[in-house]
Structure formats: structure tokens, C-alpha cells
Symmetry: C2
Subunit: 660 residues, 2 copies
């Protein structure tokens, strides 16, 4: 069909160009939406580029990837390997952040085809004199385009192939020297070039390995009843750093709407002292570029960002593109909202539910260009204040084309900026957000409990094309979600779920300090915390030590020490005779680091059984020594079944490092 | 990434155009090689067009396919249905042969969104007065672009919505009349149009339903030892028609090479009376446009084609693009071959094997344009003589770009021409031939024997995207292949395999009369017939009746009578307690015809067991009456397990028609 319109009595110029190119290149991977979006990777990862490559007949092919970083001038060639059944691949290392372009080309390798034929004919005792002369012709043909040094050598070798001394000629024919010269001077005039140039984005390390901690800065005050400030929050940085987190994420820090403000437990009317929800953004004090006055000044915020940086922590800001009724935008840009016949602005709703404290932005506004620019300028503003990570609130309720443009525009200037998509929604929407540029995504992990559910989800995330776009960030809880297993499983479940999050996924996070304090009283009618911090100030005993906190600290240290836990893509499922035991492994080939995990998913009872792991995929020999990084105990294990018993009151998980 | 290059300080015109289009259309199917090739169908089939379609937020969407036959002027709209999880689809009927183009568009359906919200608010007892006014605004907005008749009616209904009579307004709001008017005048200015126009080819019926019979016309003579002719073959047409076949396929009918001719059983030297292989094409008598003198004249051939046509049979010619050493091309177009240093032409080889009677064509010839034109002219020549079906010999050893061009060029003028690809090779090559235009393909069926193998293969063929390109044609034997199960299983296996071929696949064929005669003596070292007809004249007793022949005749009648057997795509696997029992069903919704098959794959022993079928997929109720179309026996069956026992000496298969 590509050709049908170009065919007349004589062949068209388009066909003419490719008529002798016999090789087909198809099914190239990674390739997101046919090349519309880049495949994701992080620096120092190797990306496997694969394709179906074949030709008519039985000739030997040569295939290569040509790859180049956007900032480089030259394309580098990487030879592809034939894995069988016409599947070819090569692993290319991502050496610096930014965008890599790649293309593929392949051609018939006539010289190697001849070499293999010669070898088989000789082995079968056939006369090879004529074959050697055919080879000499190939070599002489290659001389045509060769540089003078190669030309002289090719001439010499062609002469040997044509000589009467068949044994000597055969030796030269099969020599590495000749093969190498012939490859360097290969005739690629009939090569097939894959018609698309595809893109891989190599992001900074933290895109793929990060440990998030969320707290409300307004609850950071030492004195009960006092509104916490950035200065108070700054004093908590050592606590966050000691626990081993490297991203500290705050709910929105902007002025909170006063009109239609929600009270405690989402009450429709706020009391006079109710601070309101930080997600109801904007008041007379300003909008998305302003700071809630009670938190402090911009100077305080910048000081906090700087102090965090010195302790290895990045501050992540929550950006929620929605407005309280008293947000300045409403008066300044009424065209960005939907207006009702009674002169009021349309608030958010999911009929019959109403969210009168929130006005959604109308992405179908006729003035959408100014709207887009203004929304992006919010990100630019905070980037200028030192913010490098954004957690975007409900991005799936804002138009996808906006994100595609905004993220690409920002990353063009600031490739280090990371975006986490807070979208707990349908699979296709979450996938699209990842495609249009979000670096990390919240996931369904929060509701995956059984070993079957967890394994299926992990394999979907890591062993399908999803892995080139959707980078999971596992959260056992959030201010919006207190899942039932944390309510019913108590401390044991809190320990289990954070250990699962931090070992299954290289990106994970918790909302604290409720998590490490084991607070788990639910709202009577929702899977949410009662007396939710979203609607009130809390006073926490930040100095309190708990078992959960101690184990989180161990977990983060284990993650830092073990490269195998610093990527999600190396997940390998294990097998157990007991469905309450989840087992999996992770292997980092470069460092040789292997981690094996066995977890008891039952927070109430000891579970025991046999577990086994695919030793080959995990770089293991048939006998190996493992050390539990949580307990310090060592064991001798072997390929096949090994016995495990886990008492959840003791520790719900083994995290074994393979030590030899 | 699509946008990154277009972004400057102000948004580019490209973004401008799509900025308000909030709907995303993705993962559109069928789509072959990203739309490079058409998806295949046959006339009267319905093709399911599917896509992922979604938007931000919770608005209701409207999605439609626009489809148009190449010869038509107007696009027809087909409303897509939302199946859930953002998957949408619609079945579009193929009403005439040729190429259909289709595209997709979708938009936010603001009216329906409002309608549903109104309904929910009303149900929750909320005040809907303001809501009704919002609806009136939507209706008034729609008036803007409406035709005058619609405009007047919309105005009237808007007035009702705005009136004080809320009950009346509500009734109008929810009315079909308003919904229909609003749909007809929907605002699609923010619609998303999928950027590609895709193609479906609707082929003639025989592309999807055909019964092939192959014989060597040179073995058609009545007198032993005499070379058969087209006239002899013409006399055999009633036999072919009575057996129920509708395609009669001949091995190549061209002059057979004399130089390096092969003798009986592929002997390197032919005896003086050896006729040679018909696949060694070309001699002093001509090449691919000539007829082997001993078969008769062009006039005889045309007479045969005409006689066949009058009996419902089409003649399929074998086209093998290769030359005997004395083919006229070698002298006339030496540039189309590879020449060796000793002045000889390179013959075909697969080292260390040599095929000295065959010269392959060099598709890397500098003169490839004239070569392509000449090769295509061979097809054009035989089309002009009345041939409408070609069985192409080893197409995977000729360049794929040639086929892509040649088949598209021919089908542009002659959409009725069918091509069967004789490629028993690796999956990607067979798939590519189907993509570039072959209508039917030989398959791995010949070597699939167990129920597991057969079911897996059938599901791969029918329940993956393969079904839109690769149309299988099942052959139990060919002149090149006598599979071991026919050798060992004798008559029982011959009956079983032809029944399987003709019920699993709507396209099938046999090489006769060896098949119906049950001839099965193998070559001692190959899975091929001894004293192969490829290298010698045979004298057959064409009048001989056999049980195999009788059953083939029944099979072809059953296929003609039952629409469910006239497509391959409706295959539904069944389940059996005995792995020797293969069971499956086929259902034709349009006619209500259901066929259920149970086969004993063991040619030696009676096998019995329980079998069950997915009744819903087969249009069955919980109790149904079936009639075995081979034995005439009827049974009462039910959803769930039913008992079957099959004695292969009696009949290895039940072909049940569901009669009520």
C-alpha cells in the first residue's frame, strides 16, 4: 500500500531508491506511541534496543544501531546481535542525561555469507578453488571505496585468495584480519535504514531511585496549637535525613482560600480557627506563586531548600492547578473558569457530590494560550526559587496536551526537573501521563495485597513496554488514603507495607509522621484518616522513636548500600509453597549485587514454607550464602527449595544479600 | 516530544490548533505496521475497529469512525461504543471489495455530561433550577450552527428549560428528542481527529473460503506412459468438481529445463526419458510465459480454464521465479544473474547442498527495474489468459520490496487476483509476506499434531493481530511434504488430517490423487514421497473410489452447507478430559449456524472422554440438539461435559451441526 500510489507504467523514484535494499527492519523497540514520545531511562542504565530484522533467502545480515546524544555531533554505531528467529538486539549505555536519538540500519553481509559457505564446502570436501576466486572478487570490489592503507592490504589478500596455494588462501579467507578489513569497507549501498529516528531520554539518577517523605509543614511547630513554619520544618530536616529519605515533599504551601473553606473532617463550614485544606489554593494573600503567610516568607522557604540540599534532601512541591473561590485568578482571568447563569463560577463536582471550595480551571477556555503560559510560569517561578521536584496533584483532571507541552518546555531548559504524577485513576490515563513526560507515577500498589496481585502487578510494570514510560513510585499511605490493611494490620502491617514498597520499587514514599507512629484510625465512611491533617493543624511529638521508624531507617540504609534495590526493572519473581509468602529477587549485574526477599503477607500469623528463585536470572550458583540485612543472620541456601518461617510480630520480611 | 521543537516564547501554530482538543485517541486497531499496509478482510465480514479513547476529567465522550470505500465520495460515520476501561469499538461491515479508508474522531459530549449530572442531582434531591438554565445555555449555543428547522426546535426546547415549570423542563431535558437534536448539532470544534487514515482491504469471498486440489497435469493421461495434456486434465474437471473443490492448482506448466535436468528421485543425472521437475523452468521452448510443449497449446490451456470456470473451479498457476540453465533469460538478460569467475552462472545452493538445475534471480541486479517489470509481466500475461489465482513458489527467497510493489500494482487493476504464499519458513518472513499482500499462506499446520499444538496454533492465528494479515491455508500434504503421521497413521490419519484441515481452516487444500489414494511410502531419508511425481510421470487410476475420497467429498459438502466453516476467525477452543480428543466450535452469528467438532487425534485407538465448549461464544443455550454431519446421528447435549467416544477405524471425527 505504501507503493500503490507511486506506481505507474514505470517505477517511481521512491521505489527506485529502495529497490535493491532487501533487508526488512520492523517492530523496533523501545518505541512509544510510534516514536511520538521518548522512551525513559536513567543515566548509567543500559537500554536494550531490539528489532525484527530479516531478508529474503539465506544470506548473513549485519545490523547496527546508530545512536547520538542531542548535544553530540557524531553518531556512534553499536553492532546488534542476532538472538534467533530474526530478533536482533543491542544494549546501549546511557552515559549522560538528556535526549538520545537512535536509528537502525542493516544490510546483507555478502563477505560473511561467502566465508560461511566456503567453510561448509571445504568441510564437505568440495573443491573450493572457484569459491576462493569468488572471494577474491568480493575483496577486490571492497578495494574500490577503501582508504589507501586498507586498499593495499586488501589487494595483497585478494592476491593470496587467487593464488594456487589453496591452503594458504583458505587460511587468509577465514582470517580475522580479512573479516575485519571487509567489515570496515563493507558495501552498504543497499542497506535498509529504518525510516524513523527514535528517542530515549536519560534522566538523572533520582528519577529512578528516590525515597520520599511527606509531611505538613504547618504541623512542624514545637508548641502545641501553633501554626508550623518553614523555620520549624527546617529543624526537622536532620530527622528526615537520619531516616534516610532524600526527597521531602510538602502539600501546597500557597495561601489557603478563605471563602467556602472546609472545616475539620471535611465539614462544609469551617470554624474560625480551622486552617482549611492546603489544596484549596488562593486568597487575598495571593495564588500559586505566593506562600501561605503563616508558613513564613519566601526567604524562609529558600533557606529551607538550601538547608535541605546540604543534608542530601530535595524539597518537592505539590502543584495543584485549581483555585479557591478567592484566588486572584478568578478576578484577573475570569475567562479561565466556567461561569453559571447566576453569575457564579462553576465549582468542582462529581454529581451529586459538590466541592464548593475548589474551582476547576477550564481547559477549553478560548484564552487557553495565556492560561497555559501562566500555569507553566508557576513551575518556572518555583524552579527559580530552587525547587527541582514537583508532585502534581490530580494531573488527570487537567488536559493532557497541556502537560505534554509544559513538561517538554520545562525539560528543554531544565532537564533535571522531576515530575511525580498523583493520578490514582484508570490505567490508560496513568499511562498517558507517563508518556507525556511525568518521570514518576503513583501506582495501584496501595491496594495490591496478595502475592498473586503483587507479582502480577510487578510483572506488568517491569516486563512489558510499560517499563519504558511508567516509572512507579510505591506509597503505602497518603493523606488521602489509609488502606484497610493498615487499619486492621496495625504495626505489623505498617512494617510489612513499607518494606514491600521500598524493596519492590526503587522509588517509594510515605506520608508521615502518621506512618511511623502507626496512626491508623479511619474515617467511619471512607478509607481515609479520621481527623485528617488535610483540614487541621496537628501537633506531633517529632522526637518519638518507634519500631516502625527504626525499620524504615534500616530499609533506607539497605537501599543505599545495595545497587540491586536501586532499580525496579530487575524484579524477578520467586515461588513459594505458601501463598502468604511473597518472594522475589533483584540482581545488579554491574556490581554483582543480588538481593533475595521473602515476605510474610499475613500480619497476624507466622507463615512458613518452601521458597525458590530462578537462580540464573539472579546471577546465583547452585549453592550460595545469604545474609539477612534486617536480622544479620546468615544462611546457606541452594538452587531449588529452601525453608522460610516468618513471624510478623518479630519481622515480616527477610531481605537477604547474597554474600557469596 | 512532538511539541518540544515547536515551542518558543509563544505557542506555535501547531499547538494552537490542538490546544483545546482534550480527547486522546490511541492504540487504534486494526493497524498493520503503523498503517503501512492494509488490514485484510473479505466482503460481508464485519471488521471491528477499536481504540483507546479518553480525556482528562469525568466528562462523557462521543467517538466515531469515519469510513469510506475508495470508490465512494462520502465518509460514513459509525458511532463507537465504550466497552469500559477506555476501550471503544464498532463493527463496520465490508459491503464491497476493494480498499476502505477509515479515520477516528472523538470529542467531549458536553450535553450528555450535563444530562447525566442533572439526572444524578435530581435523584439526590438537589435543586436543579440553575442546572436547567445551564442546559438552556448549551441548547442555545447549539442553535448557532444549526439548520433553520433544528434551530427553531432548539429555541423552543431551550425556552422550556428556562421556564418555571421544573417538571416539564426536566422531562424535556431528559428527552430523546433533545438528545438527538443536540447530537446532530454537536459542537465538534474541539474534536480530536486521529492523525492517520488507515486502510482495510475487503477481498472477494474466495480469499477467505476456498478448497484447493493440486495435481500434475502431466499425470492426467489415460494411457500409461503417455505424457498428460491440458486436454486430459480438462476431462478430470468433473471429478474435481464432484469432490467439491473450487480451486484446481497445477505445478508450473512452463517448458522444463533440459540442461542439468534432474532424474527420478532427484537424481543428479536425468535419464533420456525423464521429464524433469516442472520447477526447473525454461528451455529452448521458452520461459515463464510459455507452455511446456507436451502439455499442449495456449489454446488448450484457455479451453481448460473456461471449462473449469463453467464447473465452478478456478485454475491456480504456480509461479516460481527461478530459471533452468537454458531459460531464455540467461542469454537475453545475463545481468539478472550472478556470474562466477569461470564464466558460469551461480546456481542455487545452501552449502554444501547444490541445486545445479536452478539459477536464482539476483534481486540486487543493477538492472532491477527492468527485472521487476519483466517478472510482473509474467503475472500480467497469465491474468490475460484467464488465470485469477497464483500459488507463488518460495516467495521468501525473492526480495520483499518486489512483492510489495508487484502485488499492489496488480491488485490496483485486478482486485480479484489472489496470491497464495508457499513459504514454509520462519514466522517473521511468513508474516511479512502476508503484510506485503499475499492473500493466503501455507502454514505450520502440516506439523501440528497434538491438541495442545493445534489449539495454540489456532489461537495464535485467530486471536492475535495476525488475523488481520495472515490468512491460513491448511495443507495435510504437498509434493514436497509427506509428514510422518501420514506415513505411520495410514488411511485413518489421512481421513483425520483432511477433516482437521477443512474444519479448522476455511481455506485448505490437498495434493492428489496420492492423498485420496492413501499413498504414503516415504523417501528413505526425507519426509517426502518416494518416486516423487516432481521428477517423473505418473499414471493414476483416476476412476478409483476410496474411503478417503468419499469423506473428502462429504467434508466439502459440509463446508459449503455451513457458514460457520466458511471463516477461520470464529475458532473457539473446547476442553476435553482426554488429551487425544481435540474439540472446538465455530459460530456464524449472521446465519445462526453453529458447528461443534470433536476429533480423535490418535489414528490407532478408540479414544473417549468428556468434552465441553464455551456455550456463550458459540451461541448455544444450556441444552441443545446436535447432528453429526458425517454419520447422520443426533444427540442431546448440554452446557458442561458431554461424553464422546471415537473409533478411528470407524470415523475419527464428529462434525456436529447444532440443529436446535
Amino acid at each position: 500500500m505504501t507503493l500503490i500510489n507511486t506506481v505507474s507504467q514505470k517505477l517511481s523514484s521512491m521505489v527506485k531508491k529502495s529497490g535493491k535494499a532487501r533487508v526488512i527492519i520492523s517492530n523496533v523497540s523501545p518505541q512509544i506511541e510510534e516514536g511520538t514520545f521518548p522512551a525513559k531511562s536513567v543515566i548509567d542504565e543500559s537500554v536494550i534496543i531490539a528489532a525484527d530484522i530479516f531478508s529474503d533467502g539465506h544470506d548473513v545480515l549485519y545490523a547496527e544501531v546508530l545512536i547520538k546524544h542531542d548535544k553530540d555531533r557524531r553518531w556512534q554505531a553499536a553492532r546488534m546481535e542476532h538472538l534467533g528467529n530474526d530478533k536482533w538486539e543491542v544494549a546501549v549505555p546511557m552515559e549522560k542525561t538528556g535526549f538520545y536519538k537512535f536509528k537502525l540500519q542493516a544490510w546483507i553481509d555478502h563477505f560473511t555469507t561467502w566465508q560461511l559457505g566456503l567453510q561448509k564446502k571445504h568441510a564437505a570436501g568440495q573443491d573450493i578453488a572457484l569459491e576462493l576466486k569468488i572471494g577474491a572478487e568480493l575483496v577486490e570490489k571492497a578495494m574500490g571505496k577503501a582508504a589507501s592503507k586498507d586498499k593495499a592490504q586488501l589487494k595483497k589478500l585478494a592476491a593470496v585468495l587467487k593464488s594456487e596455494d589453496v591452503n594458504n588462501a583458505l587460511e587468509i579467507a577465514m582470517s580475522h584480519e580479512l573479516a575485519s578489513l571487509m567489515h570496515n569497507n563493507a558495501d552498504t549501498s543497499n542497506a535498509t535504514l529504518y525510516p524513523k529516528v527514535l528517542t530515549i531520554e536519560a534522566e538523572r539518577k533520582k528519577a529512578g531511585f528516590s525515597s520520599w517523605y511527606e509531611f505538613f509543614p504547618r504541623s512542624a511547630a514545637v508548641t502545641p496549637g501553633k501554626h508550623g513554619t518553614f523555620k520549624d520544618a527546617e529543624k526537622l530536616l536532620p530527622r528526615v535525613a537520619e531516616m534516610g529519605f532524600d526527597v521531602l515533599y510538602f502539600p501546597p504551601i500557597h495561601p489557603i482560600g478563605e471563602s467556602k473553606r472546609k472545616g475539620r473532617n471535611n465539614a462544609l463550614e469551617a470554624g474560625p480557627d480551622d486552617p482549611g485544606s492546603p489544596w484549596a489554593i488562593g486568597s487575598k494573600h495571593g495564588g500559586h506563586k505566593a506562600i501561605h503567610p503563616e508558613l513564613g516568607s519566601l526567604k524562609d522557604f529558600k533557606s529551607l531548600v538550601k538547608a535541605a540540599d546540604s543534608q542530601g534532601i530535595e524539597i518537592a512541591l505539590d502543584i495543584a492547578y485549581q483555585c479557591a473561590p478567592d484566588h486572584p485568578y478568578v478576578k484577573e482571568h475570569p475567562q479561565w473558569f466556567k461561569w453559571r447563569p447566576d453569575g457564579s463560577v462553576q465549582y468542582a463536582e462529581n454529581p451529586p457530590k459538590k466541592y464548593e471550595d475548589i474551582l476547576p480551571i477550564n481547559f477549553e477556555s478560548e484564552d487557553w494560550e495565556n492560561l497555559w503560559e501562566e500555569l507553566k510560569s508557576v513551575l518556572d517561578y518555583w524552579i527559580a526559587q530552587g525547587v527541582s521536584i514537583f508532585r502534581i496533584d490530580n494531573p488527570h483532571t487537567k488536559a493532557f496536551p497541556f502537560w505534554e507541552w509544559a513538561i517538554a518546555s520545562i525539560r528543554e531548559k531544565h532537564p533535571e526537573i522531576l515530575f511525580l504524577a498523583e493520578a490514582f485513576t484508570r490505567p490508560r490515563l496513568m499511562e498517558r501521563l507517563a508518556k507525556v513526560g511525568f518521570n514518576q507515577s503513583y501506582t495501584y500498589f496501595t491496594w495490591r495485597n496478595t502475592s498473586e496481585e503483587l507479582i502480577e502487578y510487578m510483572e506488568e510494570l517491569t516486563q512489558t513496554d510499560s517499563r519504558y514510560i511508567f516509572r512507579p513510585n510505591f506509597w503505602p499511605n497518603t493523606p488521602d488514603i489509609l488502606p484497610p490493611h493498615l487499619t486492621y494490620g496495625g504495626e505489623n502491617a505498617h512494617i510489612l507495607r513499607v518494606l514491600l514498597a521500598g524493596t519492590l520499587s526503587s522509588n517509594y514514599g510515605i506520608y508521615g509522621p502518621v506512618y511511623e507512629f502507626g496512626i491508623n484510625t479511619p474515617h467511619p465512611s471512607k478509607e481515609e484518616y479520621i481527623d485528617n491533617e488535610k483540614y487541621e493543624l496537628k501537633h506531633w511529638d517529632w522526637g518519638k522513636e518507634t519500631r516502625i521508624k527504626e525499620i524504615i531507617t534500616m530499609l533506607n540504609k539497605i537501599r543505599k548500600d545495595n545497587p540491586a534495590l536501586q532499580t525496579t526493572w530487575n524484579f524477578v519473581r520467586g515461588y513459594s509453597s505458601n501463598e502468604n509468602l511473597l518472594c522475589f529477587g533483584k540482581y545488579d549485574k554491574a556490581s554483582g549485587n543480588t538481593i533475595i526477599v521473602a515476605a510474610n503477607l499475613d500480619p497476624y500469623h507466622t507463615q512458613q514454607g518452601m521458597v525458590s528463585f530462578p537462580v540464573e536470572k539472579l546471577g546465583l550458583s547452585s549453592n550460595f550464602t545469604i545474609k539477612d540485612l534486617l536480622s544479620g543472620d546468615t544462611y546457606e541456601w541452594h538452587a531449588g527449595d529452601n525453608y522460610v518461617a516468618l513471624n510478623p510480630y518479630d519481622m515480616p520480611m527477610h531481605i537477604f544479600e547474597v554474600i557469596k
